[in-house]
Subunit: 148 residues, 2 copies
């Protein structure tokens, strides 16, 4: 089943953006992600609507972070991307009045709700600066990160 890697990609982009002093154009972000500027705009639009980044048109324009990485959690970005459910597992709906279908769906749904609650709670506990700090620990980038 298809995977949605937008969360991973956007986190990656945001942390890189934090290290820049000028806005990043959709073009640059796209080439970094091996994708297309329009796809970048489409995805970043959700983050802009929630206030995590801004976009500026014209010369010197592009995308910029609005707040510190320490003020953004994985959950924030996850929510901003607006994916309905994190699970590939769905419920049947052929016989919505069949008590067996109801019992089965209720059981599955209970589990999905609990697991999703845990996942969202964990996402809420991680801020982006922590991920950037993990990056600073990486040997190859000691000098680059010490300059930040």
């Amino acid at each position: 089943m298809r995977k949605d890697s937008r969360l991973s990609r956007m986190l990656h982009v945001l942390i890189h953006m934090n290290q820049l002093d000028a806005p990043a154009t959709s073009e640059k972000i796209a080439s970094m992600l091996n994708t297309n500027p329009v796809v970048v705009r489409r995805t970043m639009a959700g983050l802009r609507d929630k206030g995590y980044v801004t976009s500026v048109k014209g010369h010197g324009g592009g995308w910029s972070l609005v707040m510190a990485l320490s003020d953004i959690t994985l959950l924030d970005i996850h929510n901003a991307l607006g994916e309905s459910s994190v699970f590939t597992i769905g419920l049947s709906d052929e016989h919505t009045s069949c008590p067996i279908e109801i019992a089965v769906n209720q059981a599955i749904s209970d589990v999905l709700i609990e697991a999703e609650a845990l996942l969202l709670e964990r996402f809420r506990e991680v801020t982006l600066d922590v991920l950037a700090a993990g990056f600073a620990d990486y040997p190859l980038n000691q000098q680059a990160s010490s300059g930040e």
Copy 2:
């Protein structure tokens, strides 16, 4: 994103099969699920390979439960369906040596692993007879369930 309702559907089918005294044909199961006999065979094949059901060709043939519902858990059927991951969330892999990508993916992966472990544990705790019992409690089916 697309949902996989095979778990829900198969559980539904297995509990109904438990109430029958003759094998259920792929045709019958398919019409119950508003789908196609070949799709049913394809899906049930996984359950057969794990020993939860048998299939018999020819006259009077079809699919039968091999064991009691109390011996089958949601996890058993989930595993038998052979879906790799329960999450729609995936990781990026454009820059596998970029320490930021690594840190981001590690953080997401940690959360997914923990949430999936919880989900599988909960699936492991539920046997199909419990779902069938929930069905027995349902007012409309008091008489049907008392005859079982």
